[in-house]
Symmetry: C2
Amino acid sequence: MAERPTLAPAVLDELAAALDAERVVTDAAGVDEFKDPYWIPGDDSYLGSAVVYPTTVEEVQEVMRIANRHGVAVWPHGQGRGGYGGPSPRVRGSIQISLRKMDKVLEINEELAYAVVEPGVRWFDLYDAIEAGGHSLQLTVPDLGWGSVIGNSMDNGMTYMPYGADFQLLCGLEVVLPTGELVRTGMGAIPDNKSWHLYRRGLGPSFGEMFAQSNFGIVVKAGVWLQRKPEAYVSVNLSVGQDADFEAAVDALRELRLAKVIEGVPALYAALTAAPQLIDAQVDFDLSRPLTDEELQAYADETGVGIWAGRTALWGTKAIVEAKLEAIRRVWEAIPSGRVLASKVYAPADYPDITLSTEQVQAGIPTLQLIEAQPPWLGHIGFSPIMPLQGSEVRFVMEQIRTRLREDGLNFLGGVFAFNERTACIVTGIPFDVRDEAQTRQAYASAKRLVQEVGALGYGEYRAHVDFMDEAQGVYDWNDGAYRRFAETIKDAIDPNGVLSPGRHGIWPERFRDA
Amino acid sequence: MAERPTLAPAVLDELAAALDAERVVTDAAGVDEFKDPYWIPGDDSYLGSAVVYPTTVEEVQEVMRIANRHGVAVWPHGQGRGGYGGPSPRVRGSIQISLRKMDKVLEINEELAYAVVEPGVRWFDLYDAIEAGGHSLQLTVPDLGWGSVIGNSMDNGMTYMPYGADFQLLCGLEVVLPTGELVRTGMGAIPDNKSWHLYRRGLGPSFGEMFAQSNFGIVVKAGVWLQRKPEAYVSVNLSVGQDADFEAAVDALRELRLAKVIEGVPALYAALTAAPQLIDAQVDFDLSRPLTDEELQAYADETGVGIWAGRTALWGTKAIVEAKLEAIRRVWEAIPSGRVLASKVYAPADYPDITLSTEQVQAGIPTLQLIEAQPPWLGHIGFSPIMPLQGSEVRFVMEQIRTRLREDGLNFLGGVFAFNERTACIVTGIPFDVRDEAQTRQAYASAKRLVQEVGALGYGEYRAHVDFMDEAQGVYDWNDGAYRRFAETIKDAIDPNGVLSPGRHGIWPERFRDA
């Protein structure tokens, strides 16, 4: 292991003057707090040099000005809880900007159903603020409530309710540009505009979505769209008992989404993933070897979860929810081994009674149940390719993934998410034992193999782990990498010193490209 | 009137060599075909020098290369039917690139419910191709079917079905950049990718929406999302009989949209606008003076249309449509003078029987009825500010507009559109008699006055007429014009010679800013 990366004293002095000495952290324990907990032990390829904790927009701007003066790379994160490498910077020795101390819920607008938050606000925090204010509003949340609302969204992370994907959650951003300048998107370009967090566009080109997954700016404030708590909420499990019905299940999800019967983001999990989430069953399999199809089918049958088991939910008036549930049954029960399991019809007053993780999440109640149910040694690494929401396509890619994982002695966790009415993402969580260095290394090697080999078949990742962002971007190479070259032309124009998140998702500023 | 603008012979020679001599048009009649029919007679501020008609992507690229070599501005359009100045270039003497001859429907995918079109494809053309293929698919359309699907979308034009606003219609663009280079957005950056027209993102920053309303590229190919024809379709008129209920009507639209009961883009029109559209009544008022409130109320009462009358529609299974109609009635009929008028429940087999314009449009059947019903002398100029979808806000802005129009001797046509569940746009069509030069000039002067005076109150346009794009952009001046400066930084990086649509929506390349 090389020596830990350090910053020049002049840089540290300027950071300490701009913030406060105690918000510029360089000791090993403080920096290691933002290491990916699942990364290969002893490998410090993605280790930062310091962590700074700004508390205001002006401090974020000042950090960027210091970075520009000294040509030092910075790597911002909200809570640092993201999968895909967590808070680890792509460039070793980067200054990590933790936005955890920018944690204010700035506004909750009941009538127009939105909130405005800073990037350190977690799902838990926003939920608590909504409840404390007595608002009849709910928030789409991911499986784990500890992450940053803005941070997750800026990674194109998904959640399960109608604003759960395709950049629908955030509206109206305030962004610190790489030079330290401040810009507002959409209607925010009009001073004190009342529609900033209501309408994503302005006049001329719209820039909101280009700040997601990019290294074009640091979002320091954003509107978050909320929903009224509906008269009726039903959580729905959709399963098939036989693997032969997988294609039909995927096609059914597409038809239900296209018809807008399902308006959230449904997921269809492999049995091992579904059981602890959907029916509260335990998994205590030995994952040191790949489980066979027979073992998986036996597990699915014993728990009753189904070999593929999914979830979605309905929100609306009682009559609309009932009509939609009927429409779901009509489609899903036409699948030979298809089974629909609906929860009771919850009214908002019933929400405190909800205890099952999946029912909480789809009611917008943040929780950590999913990770608390896991053994502490269980790490995972993600591979998440995009494909058409068609049974035949999803089957093909699923088999490509599972075959390679078995060859490599590994198991498949995860499932199929219908990101929109036409798109599937197979979110693969390759499980490994964090105490087992060999298995850990194998998992990362296998993930990189999947990126390249499944990528060569035309299936690109929607989000890539920091360890193989370049390989994942390499798949996007139509017309001699025209997309990447276009992104890098913009990068060079707005970040002339190449300091903000160099290499994020494979987009590099000029000084690194030349190196 | 100055002499008509001309191009240097060297430019014309190169264009003729790149295309064909007959697709490079410079005669007055040919160029005048792309003049705004409503513009001030005799004023040639926005007159082009030539019209070129490329037929292939390569020809568009070659036109851009020629423009770069000679530093000549170009101004592309699909059909040239857009309101807000039609096809007129902001910079006098620009080469107009008409994309009318790139008119191929390249693909219709029934299973995944999308089409791929070139920019010359009109709503009529795509509809005809879907019907000719026997597909059970429908397309959201605007009031007039003669425009370009891509062109309308690239102006952020709206339509009435669920994909009708907020850049939801197009997915996956092929774009000729100002330099002539070719780029594909989203999954199109992977060679031959099956998800190009299904998923808007890729890996890294997403650029789709930034090509709308911009001068960053020419879209030469795009995916268009379609919907399955539903089991049941109902067109719904929502009106209030008394002006005092206007606020309640706007708030009801918000609540119905937030609850996802209404999923299309509802509009609430002033009586004069509503009558010919929603109930087929005629308007033969003398618009040479402003009508009084009493006259408008009398007209609303006589025709029975309601002083404010809106439209929306429902699509789904019969049971879902019925449950939603019930939810609409519950909300709307709580308004004192509120009235809900639903059409019969149409099944797809009934569509050929539909004759009323509003019912056709909301069933995705393109038509020209609206313009055919207008007297030929009726011109209009638009002013379209964005505001919160709240009764009090919409009332305030509406009164600001109507008061000024009355002061200027003009009438208000148009209405309130709920672009999304939180945003209203008042689309003002100031009517004038194209034969009356004084009234025409007054209408343009009044529109510019509205842009500036209502803009100063914080209400910016979502789309501006070519004659006051700079004034409209001037409203977006937070932080010393940070948005415009950011847009122009990108403009300079990707269009170093400043040739593509200079000044579109107030974004200018460097060589014009310095002038």
